[in-house]
């Protein structure tokens, strides 16, 4: 078993290299270059089954080609009546038994890893984060630490992190292809999965269950930092003073506008367990905001003024007073300077 798995792994490595070289996918998004435990386990099975399938396909296609080459109706033999064969016990047994064996070969590791991947018995000894899927954004509650964040999930490299996931409105599905396979985020019950990332970096996450018009824009990021940086980040986040006065005057005005225009009704800065909209505590550190927009001032102003045109069906539209471009600009200024920590996606290598 061991040596055999080793061979598979070598093969996996080789083919992943080949795929990588041929430009198959974006490094921090593709499932073909695993950078975490879950995706590695899945990947091994993908390779194993692909190898089996290649074998099967060759068997079929070679016979097929021979048949087509040898047994076409021949010129001059139009009236030839082939022998009417009823069947052949040996042959039929062979092509029943071999597939059974192949299926067993694939089924055994599948069963084993179904169990390893859903084993949550050690959850208490590891980091636990509550994940909430909402129509079109993700919320992360570091409940052991007592603060929340949204959109960007920070985890330490090389450690197991247990995610307890539930949806607030409709079913979503949590997927970070490079790090782990997906799990549905149901409305009915809490699902727990664990992830473990091997390398520092910023990884794309996607919502994989149809959840409304902006389903395709419900991206998030997983930011994998070193364990030391992670501790630093936790400390910084806990330290945030939501009332802190921004340095620049414009941002100061922005802060007031933010408070006046009902933004606070939904968005918390600093920790606040209730959330209708994303927590903005470390908004200035986002690699993308609203899931997929570059964090430029223009984009942010556009968003604040008309989120509907950017993310159809989002739950922010129409729930706050109309803003002038100038006001939006000031709010943007304020939001973009919310950078409570030194530990940022950039320090993890930046979003590629």
């Amino acid at each position: 078993m061991k040596g055999w798995m080793g061979k598979i792994k070598a093969l996996a490595l080789l083919s992943s290299l080949a795929l990588f070289l041929s430009g198959c996918g974006k490094d921090n998004l593709t499932a073909l270059v695993p950078k975490g435990y879950g995706s590695e386990v899945s990947f091994n099975l993908i390779i194993l089954t692909t190898v089996v399938m290649t074998f099967v396909f060759l068997a079929v296609i070679i016979t097929y080609v021979i048949v087509l080459l040898r047994f076409r109706k021949k010129k001059g033999q139009e009236d030839f009546i082939p022998k009417q064969v009823e069947g052949n016990q040996t042959l039929e047994t062979i092509w029943t038994v071999i597939p059974i064996i192949l299926v067993i070969i694939m089924a055994v590791p599948t069963v084993i890893h179904s169990f390893t991947l859903s084993d949550t018995s050690e959850a208490d000894e590891h980091i636990n984060i509550d994940v909430t899927g909402n129509q079109y954004w993700w919320h992360f509650d570091y409940k052991d630490e007592g603060f929340q964040t949204s959109q960007d999930l920070y985890i330490p490299q090389g450690e197991r992190v247990y995610l307890n996931m539930i949806a607030s409105d409709v079913t979503h599905s949590f997927w970070v292809p490079s790090i782990s396979g997906k799990m549905d985020v149901n409305v009915d019950n809490e699902n727990t999965m664990y992830i473990e990332a091997y390398e520092e970096g910023v990884y794309w996450g996607k919502c994989a269950e149809l959840c409304g018009p902006s389903h395709s824009l419900m991206d998030f990021k997983v930011i994998v930092v070193s364990p030391e940086e992670y501790d630093q980040w936790i400390a910084d986040m806990k330290d945030v003073d939501p009332e802190a006065e921004p340095e620049s005057a414009v941002a100061q005005e922005g802060k007031e506008l933010f408070e006046e225009n009902n933004c606070m009704g939904c968005h918390a800065i600093g920790s606040s367990p209730a959330q209708v909209g994303p927590n903005l505590t470390n908004f200035g550190d986002r690699t993308k905001f609203a899931g997929f927009l570059d964090p430029t001032k223009e984009n942010l102003v556009d968003w604040i003024m008309d989120p509907e045109s950017i993310k159809p069906g989002n739950k922010m539209t129409g729930n706050y007073p109309d803003l002038s471009e100038d006001e939006a600009d000031k709010i943007a200024e304020y939001l973009m300077q919310l950078q409570p920590s030194e530990v940022t996606p950039d320090s993890a290598g930046g979003l590629k």
């Binding site: 998004l29 593709t30 082939p82 009823e86 092509w95 179904s114 409105d169 549905d184 395709s216």
Partner: protein
Amino acid sequence: MSVTATQKRSVGAVLWDYLTTIDHKKIAHLYLIGGGFFFILGGLEAVIIRIQLIKPENDFISAGFYNEMITMHGTTMIFLAAMPILLGLMNAIMPLQIGARDVSFPFLNSLGFWLFMFGGLLLNCSWFLGGAPDAGWTSYASLAIDSPGHGVDFYVAGLQIAGAGTLMGGINFLATIVNMRAPGMTYMRMPLFAWATFITSVLILFAFPALTVNLFLLMFDRMFGSAFFDVALGGNTIIWQHLFWIFGHPEVYILILPLFGLFSDVFSTFSKKRLFGYTAMVFATMLIAFLGFMVWAHHMFTVGLGPVANSIFAIATMAIAVPTGIKIFNWLATMWGGSITINSAMLWALGFIPSFTIGGMTGVMLGSAVADYQYHDTYFVIAHFHYVIVGGTVFGIFCGLHYWWPVMFGRILHEGMGKLTFWTFFIGFHMTFFIQHFLGLMGMPRRYWVFLEDQGLDLGNLISTIGAFFMSFAVIVFIINIFYTAAKGERPSPDPYDGRTLEWATASSPPPHYNFAQLPLTRGLDPLWIEKMEGNGKMTPAEPLGDIHMPNGSILPFLMSLGFFIAGFGFIYQVDHSAWYLALYGGMAFALGCMVVRSFKDDHGHHIPKEELEREAD
């Protein structure tokens, strides 16, 4: 009844004839026309999807509209295109293959068609009435409950009506095969297409009720305030997923098994050999159907059912590879040693083997639960099921149409255009869907209105879209072929392909409406072939020539379906205004009234006298 006589009749008379017909061959025409219409509609929707995805962050159509598009594409293709066309083929051919004059329940047969048609129309009315359903063809409960407007209500009402029609079709075929096989046609002498019809009907019978119930639950929740899927009141949305897939997985075998039967007949005919391993083929079909009921949760591996459930369903899923493999290899063995003719019908069958094998293999890969955590809800799944559905079902439908066109319409399709259709479709198909496997693995989830720039997905999507244009071209060629054939097509003999089974043993092409003046006597598998080999050339009659009893046509199926159609609107709109209850009760009462009329009138059918049969035979 000769063809020229038909042509002379006025349009009105033909129309009335089709509205009231209960002849299985004409109902088949209706199914093919209805299903064909919806296939083009679904295909156009597919093309719109592909145009939207031709480049990153495209805004050809809006996000909400895109979701309506995929939902209607999936729903239309599966319920309103593929299944009806298959029911059409079964209707046209199965009774002939078992040597029957008609089906068991001709009235029900017609009712089944009209229910499908009106259900489909009802569903598509949503486009014009505030938006189509947009929760995916799977319509998962949490999103379907959340969906505003009436789109999902149309989905519920339309599918409920169309589904009832399908169920009737299934029961009808079952009773027909059990009770109406011609003398000597034992079960183990039935052509595989007849067997496949039988087993598919069993699947319909056991799978559709789960959908019916599920649709009721959704309807009650959306229209009458119940709480099946309302978590706040203790509801559970996973119930929807279970019931949907308890129906849904058997459904995908409903889509493929008839064509497995068809391909068996085609391979054997065009190789001039009897089917290799007939018994194994029959039992493999049964086994696939049986296992098909025990794998539904492979669509739910990521729901969090736990490792035990996932493992069981993974193993059961992979097990289906075994009977399917038996079939693939038996087909190859059928051709092995044969004398293979390659015409356009056979081309589709030959194209099917590698295409479907790839689709089946990716199916087994999906069946490995742990790997599915990566594949699920990505373009890998889209690639898988288009490989089996297009590479299996659609190829099969084209194969069947080319093969049986003479039986159904008395003309033979143009070969050259047939081949052009095949090659462009075949190339376009692989172009569109092969690349999607990689798109999925590279991180592209399905049902994505846009994919983002700079994620390495551009080229793949572009290729995929170009492929779809190739397929459109092929379909257009096929449509031209139909019109060309209708106008100028060759009139074949009743047995143009040197056939082996009874659909080629009729007196004329197309067959007379009573099929066989005298029921044929079957003396073994491939009955017509046996007679030909023994030098008889045609079937021995199993009965003396006598009067034939045939059922009468009726407009009631059409009217009843119309009643349900109206009631459907009533159901959908009564939430807005109680005046709509009028439509609800009115439509229902009308349909029930038709039923009462039907049951209170004795209808003993009519007799075709022996003399007339003799006259026509000359």
